[in-house]
Amino acid sequence: MSNLKNKENNTQYIEIETINNVVTLTFKGEIDAFTVTQFREYIDKYMIDSSYHGGVIILDLTQVSFIDSHAVGLFVSLLKRAHKAETKLVFVGVEGQPKSILKIVGFNEDIVCYTETMEGALSINTL
C-alpha cells in the first residue's frame, strides 16, 4: 500500500492499494488543480497497468467533498487506462458536489460503475 499526503495540508491524500487484479485509489479532501498535479505523478509512479488487467480500478471518493475539471481530467485518463486494460472503472461513495459534476460531464452508469460501499465495488470483480 502506498500513500501520499499533501505536505501543506494532510487532510488531502491519495492511497493506492493493489490486491490481485483490483487496484483501489482512495482519495481524501478536495481534488482540484493543485492536488491533481501531485496525484497524477503519484498514480503514474505506483499504478502499474499489468497489475489490474481484466480486473477493476476502484476510485473511492467517500471522503471527497469537492472536485473540479482537473479531477474530471484525471478520471478521464483513468477511464482510458481502464479501457486499454479491459478493466472496469468503479466509483465508490460519490455524493454531493462530486456527484453533480460527474453527472454533468457524462460519467454515467453505462461508462463506469457506481457503488455506495467498497464491498459493492469488490463484488463487481467477481461478476
Binding site: 501543506e8 495540508n9 478536495e30 482540484d32 488543480a33 493543485f34 491533481v36 498535479t37 469537492f66 473540479d68 475539471s69 482537473h70 474530471v72 481530467g73 484525471l74 478521464v76 485518463s77 477511464l79 482510458k80 479501457h83 454531493g96 458536489q97 453533480s100 459534476i101 454533468i104 460531464v105 457524462g106 460519467f107 454515467n108 452508469e109 453505462d110 461508462i111
Partner: protein
C-alpha cells in the same frame, strides 16, 4: 504567506456602496494553486448568509471561481500581478442575480474570450486528458450567463471574467438605490471611447466622463480601430476634424467591423455648421454635439443614447429569442395510426432545448424525445440544428427492421466524429411503435420511461444508455414491451424531474410515477397528461430553469370490423 486576502464585508465597504451589493472582494498580488481551497472557503463564508438554502448555487460559484483562478495560475503568458475576486448581487427584474467577477492584469486570458463564444460542455476522451477546456464547459452548464471583458482604460487595465446565476428568491422588499448602483460599481460602468487629436480636450473629456464611465482615450482614428478589435465600447465620442483620418472616415471604417455599425457614435465638433451637411447625415450617427456643450448636457445626452441603444438591441435580441423558441416548440399529431399522443411542455428562456420528432415508417412510427443541455440561446440553436440533423438521419437509416439502439449507435458514432455535434451534450430516447402494440425503446442518457397499465399500476421501463459520442463505438440496448389496448407510455425530460425535486433525481422520478397513478381517473391520454402536468409541473413554472417536456403515447387500436 504567499497571498494576502483582503476581505471587505458589507460593513467595511465604502460608505457609498449599497450594503447588499458587494458580498466579497479579495485581492492578490500573487496566487498559487495551493491557495485555492482557502479561497473557496472564504467565498463559501461570504455566500452563506445570502444563499444558505441554495447549496447548488453555492457549489457552482465555488467551482467557477476555482476553475477561473486555476486557469490564471496554470496558463499565464505573463503571471498577473493583480487578481481580484468580487462577488456582488444585481437586481434583474424581480429576481436577484448573483455575480462573480474575476479580474486580472495578465495578457493570458484572451483565449477565454474565444472559448466563451464557443463554450462547450461535453467530455471527449481524445482531447480532454489534460483537463483543457472542460472547466469552461462545466461553468457554462452550471451558470446562467458568462462573459469576458477587457478594459483598456489606463486606470483599470484589467480583464474581467464575469459569470452570473439568477437566484430563485425574490429581492427583499426594500428600495434599491439605483443611483448608487450606477455610480459605485465600476464593474457595471459602460465604456466610452474618446478620440480627439487635441490632448487638452482629451484630458478634459476624460475628467468629465470618468466618474460615470470607463473611458479609453485615443489620439487618432487608427488607434480606435485597433482597440475596437479587442473591446467593443458602449459608445464612441469622436472629434470630427482630425488629421490623417477624420471622424467621418473613422465612422465609415468602423462600419466594416463586426458590431461597428451598431455601436453608438457621437460627433463632438467645434464646427456646428458641419452638422447639417449631407455627408454627415448619411453616416448613420447617433448625435452631433457642439464642443461648447455644458457638462450636464453632455452626460445626459450620452446616457440617453447608451440607454436607447441597449434598449433597441435587447428588444431585437428578445425578438430573435422568441422566434427561435417558437420554432422549436415540440409538436406531434394527436393520432397517428393506432396510437394517440399527448404533449405538454414548457420552454424556459435560460435552459437547454427539448424537442420531439416523429416519423412514420412503412408499418410503425418512430418517436424521438431529446434534450440538449446547456443554457440560453446556444442551447436553443443546437436544438434547432439537431432537429434537422436527426430527422435526416432517421429518414436515411430507419425502417421497421432497424432497432432504436442501432439508430443511437449511428448517432453516437457521428457525434463522436463530428466536431460541431460534439460541442454540446444531449440526451435522447428513441421509441418504435409497432402496429400490434409492441414498443421497442432505446435510451441515451435519458430518464426511465413510465408505463401506465390498465389496472392503474405504473412501472418504470428500466432502460438506460450512455450519452451519445463519449467513446468511438458506443453500445446501446433495446427494451421491448407489448402494450395492451389502453395502456400508456410516458417519456419526459430531466427538466420535469428537476422541477419536482432538484436535489434528488430518484425522489423526483418516483413522485412523477405516483402522480401518473393519481391521474388515472381518466382513460383519455390527453386529459391524463394535462392532469399530470398541472399537478406536478405547473406549480413550478415561475422557477423554470430548463425546458420541461412530457410526451405520452397510448395504444388505441381500432376495434376489429
Amino acid at each position: 504567506m504567499s497571498f494576502n486576502i483582503e476581505e471587505i464585508t458589507s460593513k467595511d465597504f465604502s460608505v457609498s456602496a449599497i450594503p447588499e451589493d458587494v458580498l466579497l472582494w479579495l485581492c492578490f498580488d500573487e496566487l498559487q494553486l495551493k491557495d485555492l481551497p482557502k479561497i473557496r472557503r472564504t467565498i463559501q463564508n461570504s455566500l452563506k448568509g445570502q444563499i444558505n438554502s441554495c447549496q447548488e448555487t453555492m457549489q457552482s460559484f465555488l467551482l467557477s471561481a476555482t476553475e477561473i483562478l486555476a486557469n490564471l495560475v496554470k496558463h499565464p503568458v505573463q503571471a498577473p500581478s493583480y487578481i481580484g475576486v468580487s462577488i456582488y448581487t444585481e437586481v434583474c427584474g424581480e429576481y436577484k442575480m448573483l455575480v462573480l467577477n474575476v479580474s486580472d492584469n495578465s495578457e493570458s486570458m484572451l483565449e477565454f474570450d474565444e472559448k466563451c463564444n464557443a463554450s462547450s460542455s461535453r467530455v471527449n476522451e481524445t482531447v480532454l486528458d489534460d483537463g483543457n477546456g472542460r472547466g469552461l464547459g462545466i461553468i457554462t452548464t452550471l451558470m446562467d450567463n458568462i462573459r469576458y471583458e477587457t478594459s483598456l482604460d489606463s486606470t483599470d487595465n484589467l480583464n474581467h471574467m464575469i459569470i452570473s446565476k439568477v437566484l430563485k428568491f425574490k429581492p427583499k422588499a426594500q428600495p434599491i438605490n439605483k443611483k448608487s448602483t450606477v455610480e459605485n460599481s465600476y464593474l457595471k460602468k459602460h465604456t466610452i471611447f474618446i478620440v480627439d487629436d487635441d490632448p487638452i480636450l482629451r484630458q478634459l473629456l476624460k475628467n468629465i466622463l470618468s466618474d460615470h464611465y470607463n473611458t479609453c482615450v485615443f489620439s487618432s482614428g487608427a488607434e480606435v480601430l485597433d482597440a475596437f478589435d479587442k473591446t467593443v465600447p458602449d459608445l464612441i465620442l469622436s472629434d470630427l476634424l482630425m488629421p490623417v483620418m477624420d471622424g467621418a472616415e473613422l465612422r465609415d471604417a468602423l462600419s466594416e467591423k463586426e458590431q461597428g455599425d451598431i455601436t453608438p457614435f457621437v460627433f463632438l465638433s467645434g464646427h456646428p455648421e458641419e452638422a447639417g451637411k449631407d455627408y454627415i447625415n448619411r453616416l448613420g450617427i447617433d448625435g452631433f454635439l457642439n464642443k461648447s456643450i455644458k457638462k450636464e448636457d453632455l452626460l445626459l445626452t450620452l446616457e440617453r443614447i447608451i440607454r436607447r441603444s441597449k434598449q433597441v438591441n435587447n428588444n431585437i435580441r428578445g425578438h430573435i429569442d422568441k422566434s427561435i423558441i417558437a420554432a422549436l416548440s415540440p409538436s406531434i399529431p394527436e393520432k397517428i395510426k393506432d396510437w394517440s399522443f399527448a404533449l405538454e411542455y414548457d420552454i424556459a428562456e435560460t435552459g437547454g432545448g427539448d424537442f420531439v420528432l416523429h416519423y412514420e415508417t412503412d408499418e410503425g412510427i418512430i418517436v424521438v424525445l431529446a434534450d440538449v443541455m446547456g443554457h440560453g440561446l446556444p442551447a436553443k440553436f443546437f436544438s434547432y440544428a439537431y432537429v434537422g440533423y436527426l430527422r435526416s438521419l432517421i429518414r436515411l437509416h430507419f425502417n421497421d427492421h432497424l432497432r432504436p439502439s442501432s439508430l443511437l449507435q449511428i448517432l453516437s458514432k457521428n457525434v463522436y466524429e463530428d466536431s460541431f455535434l460534439e460541442s454540446c451534450i444531449f440526451t435522447c430516447q428513441v421509441v418504435h411503435l409497432a402496429p400490434d402494440g409492441t414498443i421497442n425503446i432505446s435510451s441515451a442518457g435519458h430518464p426511465w420511461p413510465i408505463i401506465a397499465k390498465n389496472n392503474n399500476e405504473t412501472n418504470f421501463l428500466e432502460i438506460s444508455g450512455p450519452l451519445p459520442g463519449m467513446i468511438p463505438a458506443m453500445h446501446y440496448s433495446n427494451m421491448t414491451y407489448k402494450m395492451e389496448a389502453g395502456e400508456s407510455l410516458f417519456l419526459y425530460t430531466d427538466g420535469i424531474i428537476e422541477n419536482i425535486d432538484k436535489a434528488d433525481d430518484e425522489k423526483g422520478k418516483n413522485i412523477l410515477k405516483q402522480s401518473i397513478n393519481g391521474c388515472s381517473s381518466s382513460s383519455d391520454i390527453k386529459e391524463k397528461t394535462k392532469c399530470l402536468w398541472s399537478n406536478q409541473v405547473k406549480n413550478f413554472e415561475d422557477n423554470v430553469q430548463d425546458d420541461s417536456t412530457i410526451l405520452a403515447m397510448q395504444y388505441t387500436p381500432r376495434a376489429p370490423q
